[in-house]
Amino acid sequence: MYPIAYTGWMSLQEWFVSSVTPPRFIGLANYWKILFGDPRFREAVARTIYFTVLAVGAETILGLAMALLFNREFWGRGVLRTLAILPMVATPTAIGLVFVMMYHPTLGVANYLVTVVGLSPFRWTYSSQTALYALALVDVWQWTPLIMLIALAGLASLPREPYEAAHIDGASTLEAFWHITLPLLRPALVVAVLFRAIDALKTFDIIFVMTQGGPANSSETVNILLFNQAFSYFNLGYASSMAVALFAVVLGASMILIKVRRTASW
């Protein structure tokens, strides 16, 4: 807890580590600057939220689809489970590096596959228009299995009776999914999505390794901006206030999570 309090205290000061001057107390000026005076920070916040919504949205839809597909007895369940875990534990730095090579505009395998399918090649992380999407795709690759596993666990615990009743009443499979499966699965799904969202808001490794926020700041999320402020420009006071702001955003998401956990009964 002490480091957190210290960050809070730091956020009220103006202090460059490299300079000889000691920290100077400037009250809430840093926060004032964040909220009203720094368009770059505001853009980073919007970008972070956009990245999170994009990645987690895709993960939820894909993960749910996969869970529905795999929710049955079949040969190779164990293999599937193993495969699903691998991307989640793989070192993000290494994964980022592999994707950098795959995304290479002229030599990368991604563009080769894209042209085989008949699309025109992209510039992936090498263009400011597509960089954020290309990064979100890595996140989707890594974390869709998590949503799938949680949804699978949720599906396994569903009761059988409502389906039989619905079947007798003549409901179609789609209707049964929409009116029975989805509502019953909601608590597990909400928790999964919020956990993912909390982590996606804090994504650092992959972005830092692959683009460092570029090209032209097009993938600069709050975490990256703050890291650079702190450890490239050594503007520690200002960076601290951004850290507090980021914490507030993540805490907001978490409060919802804790509330949901409490109301859900399982």
Binding site: M66, L83, V89, T106, A153
Partner: protein, 277 residues
């Protein structure tokens, strides 16, 4: 009629496995690509169009990783930090989890949850200042302590649910027979949660092994861990893909192997117990 139904079943099974392969293909492909790239000689690694199945195997990438860089030192650093972080995490986390589970300390449990949620970078700035003042930047101690912030909440959180499953009667019986609270914890509770200990130990090891954010700032020349080493290689090697892929493979493989051993509980840890398995 019977035959037609059989044919339909075959078709539906084939369709199912077709879809299954389609969904899992990206997962497999990225790892496959990483490993094959690492085995290709330089010219073939950057050949376009790339070769998927037929290529000549070369160990040049791996040789370069070990001869051009002190890769063994980096591996050793990663091992020491991850093992230290795990050992310390268990030493602190197990009693904490036991106490939270046994005496239902909900507030503490909530604090652990918050610790899991705080962005790591919010810790990093004050740590950086402290460790600089203490002249502890570039020491194993600083890395182990900082990696604990990732590992400890997971150890505690997952172990709480394991300790909750230990029957209270058993512990009461131990107390009546003259065991101390620590004795009950050590002799009765701990042996019963052994599977959980193994799982959380592996998880905490993996998280420390993978950590980039803390090490990039706090590790120096002597204590640089593998993720940082690989990150630095990107700028040096540019398009020397065989070498880069070899390095990526070398840091990923141990984690993947370790994960296979404890796959069941890894899910619990990653979801932070969102779903009880």
């Amino acid at each position: 009629m019977v035959r037609r139904r059989g044919a339909r079943r075959v078709a539906s099974t084939a369709g199912f496995y077709g879809l299954a392969v389609l969904f899992m293909l990206p997962t497999v492909f990225v790892f496959y690509w990483m490993i094959t790239l690492s085995l290709k000689p330089q010219i073939e690694a950057t050949a376009y169009p790339p070769s998927f199945v037929r290529f000549s195997v070369s160990m040049a990438g791996y040789r370069e990783v070990f001869t051009k860089y002190p890769f063994l030192l980096y591996t050793w650093n990663s091992l020491v930090v991850a093992a230290g972080c795990t050992a310390l995490g268990l030493a602190v986390g197990l009693p904490a989890a036991y106490s939270i589970a046994r005496w239902r300390q909900q507030r503490l449990a909530l604090a652990i949850l918050v610790a899991r949620i705080i962005p790591g970078i919010a810790y990093l700035i004050p740590w950086y200042i402290f460790f600089r003042q203490l002249r502890m930047v570039d020491t194993y101690g600083a890395l182990i302590l900082t990696h604990l912030i990732v590992g400890l909440p997971i150890i505690i959180w997952v172990m709480i649910s394991f300790f909750e499953d230990v029957p209270g009667d058993l512990e009461d019986a131990g107390l009546i027979d003259g065991c101390s609270y620590f004795g009950v914890f050590w002799r009765i509770a701990l042996p019963l949660v052994k599977p959980g200990i193994v799982a959380t130990a592996i998880l905490s090891f993996v998280f420390s092994w993978n950590n980039f954010l803390f090490s990039v700032i706090l590790a120096g020349r002597e204590t640089r861990t593998l993720p940082i080493a690989v990150y630095n290689m990107i700028s040096y090697e540019e398009i020397n893909w065989g070498t880069l892929a070899a390095a990526a493979t070398l840091i990923t493989l141990p984690v993947l192997l370790v994960a296979l051993v404890a796959q069941r509980h890894i899910v619990t840890g990653l979801t932070f117990g969102a779903v009880k398995q």
